[in-house]
């Protein structure tokens, strides 16, 4: 019990004094996951909006595949990206395996299905309420989708925050393609796994507290957004 209490006290000291290693690891985690979300958003929003408005053969199959990929295990993504980026792989010439860039690629792949599926639902709901009106006014499919994404920007932000939460909290993919190299590819989740296995509980706990804090703040923000829009809707109804 005293070990846990001592570790927690040391962890809080590290946070309070902005321990250099802690700050570096947290900084890299936020950069990698943030970049992955931006990249994933570009692809995921376009894919989701496109699947909401376009009609083409095989569309249902694509939607089914996208929804299935929502449950994609991060270690599987890590393995696939490893195979792609390893020296013998098709993208081995890029030479980015065991760099933050590889971690960004893996996390981007992980969040694309999430962003695409949720943004598709968002656009479909918008089209159900106002699709005929937009078409009546001359808006084409692409214009309607873009307008609805802009109109539902708070919903889009909520989706992106959810995707960031998934990316920053995953460990399998970044461990495989990043290699958990100190000072280079070590992020919060991989560091927690390593420090716990070494028995260095204070750093692991400090990172755990920060990770929980980041995810908690995101959830709070998402909750405020949802609460705000729900209250607004209720007030305006």
């Amino acid at each position: 019990m005293s070990t846990v209490a001592d570790s927690l006290r040391l962890a809080l000291d590290m946070i309070r004094h902005a321990d250099v290693e802690l700050v570096r690891i947290v900084g890299l985690s936020l950069r990698v996951s943030g970049t992955a979300c931006v990249a994933g958003a570009v692809v995921g929003l376009a894919l989701g909006a496109g699947l909401a408005v376009a009609r083409f053969p095989g569309q249902r199959l694509l939607v089914w595949a996208m929804n299935t990929l929502l449950a994609l295990p991060s270690v599987v993504v890590g393995l696939l990206v490893y195979l792609l980026l390893s020296r013998a792989g098709p993208l081995g010439a890029w030479g980015i395996l065991f760099t933050p860039a590889a971690m960004v690629v893996a996390q981007s792949i992980l969040v694309v299905p999430l962003i695409a599926a949720l943004s598709r639902r968002l656009v479909l709901n918008g089209l159900r309420d106002g699709g005929d009106q937009l078409r009546s006014l001359g808006a084409g499919a692409a214009t309607s989708a873009l307008l609805l994404l802009v109109h539902e920007r708070w919903g889009v932000l909520t989706i992106l925050l959810t995707a960031f939460g998934r990316a920053v909290a995953e460990v399998g993919a970044v461990m495989i393609v990043g290699g958990n190299i100190e000072g280079v590819t070590r992020v919060m989740t991989t560091a927690i796994a390593l420090e716990t296995s070494k028995g260095d509980l204070p750093l692991a706990l400090a990172l755990g507290v920060v990770l929980l804090g980041v995810v908690g703040l995101l959830n709070l923000f998402v909750g405020l957004l949802h609460g705000g829009t729900a209250t607004e809707r209720e007030a305006l109804a």
Binding site: D129, G130, D132, Q133, L137, G138, A139, L147, R233, A237
Partner: protein
């Protein structure tokens, strides 16, 4: 307006704007409209009547081009002497656009039609003044009353300066005073030479606003006549029973 089974020869015949030729509209396994032949002519005020689910809204959407014909075709006639296609606007049962303010409802519509910013602003102001909503320009459209929302939809249509206006039950669930306001605005549209095609359950309204009335049942156009003949002459069986309020629940 002329339709299969109707006499198109009442009064002077104006130029056609839109035609449906043997039009059929299917949604999956359901046929919502079947074998409709109809021509809407310039300056007409065509009222579509019929029971719930008879195909009035589908006919409006087919005429507007929002749903494709599964069979048959829709023809848009060029305006003479302008030589361009008629501009159409539609009022839906949900009158406002997205969760926007009153003025944003108009400006977005005008932006989608490709109008320059200055013209958007002036048309928006004019249209809101015309329907008496200028003071509420910054309000969210959602908080307006039912009558105000319909006036907003009419302002949006006005701003688009349409040649033909489609209205889908614009006075449903409005109180009598709001109903009168909306009817007066629709009459103003018609007075400006805009062709009006409107669905309604209110036969009195059809009589007041219409120059022609069309009766639909089960997706078929059973009668399409000038308003005086529709209300004063014998009609095909189902249409006659509808007028007398004798149709049983389906």
């Amino acid at each position: 307006m002329s339709a299969a089974g109707a006499n198109p020869g009442d009064g002077p015949v104006s130029a056609p704007l839109l035609s449906l030729h043997d039009a059929e509209v299917r949604f999956g396994g359901v046929t919502a409209l079947r074998g409709v032949n109809l021509t809407v002519r310039r300056g007409e005020r065509l009222m579509l009547v019929g029971t719930n689910g008879s195909g009035k809204t589908t006919l409006l959407r087919a005429l507007h081009g929002l749903v494709p014909c599964s069979r048959g075709r829709r023809e848009v006639h060029a305006l003479a002497p302008q030589g361009r296609e008629p501009v159409a606007a539609m009022l839906f049962q949900n009158p406002f656009l997205l969760n926007l303010s009153v003025q944003a409802n108009l400006r977005l519509a005008l932006w989608l039609r490709g109008l320059p910013r200055a013209e958007r602003a002036s048309r928006c102001t004019d249209a809101l003044q015309r329907v008496g909503l200028a003071a509420l320009a910054r309000r969210p459209a959602r908080v307006l009353s039912g009558g105000q929302q319909q006036r907003l939809a009419l302002a949006r249509a006005w701003a688009l300066q349409p040649d033909i206006l489609f209205l889908d039950e614009p006075t449903a669930s409005l109180d009598p005073s709001a109903k009168r306001e909306v009817e007066a605005l629709v009459a103003e549209f018609a007075g400006d030479g805009v062709t009006v095609v409107m669905s309604t359950h209110n036969l009195g309204q059809a009589k007041r606003l219409g120059s022609h009335v069309a009766y639909l049942e089960d997706g078929q156009l059973l009668a399409a006549l000038p308003v005086e003949r529709f209300f004063n002459e014998p009609l095909p069986g189902a249409a006659d029973r509808f007028l007398k309020g004798e149709l049983p629940f389906a």
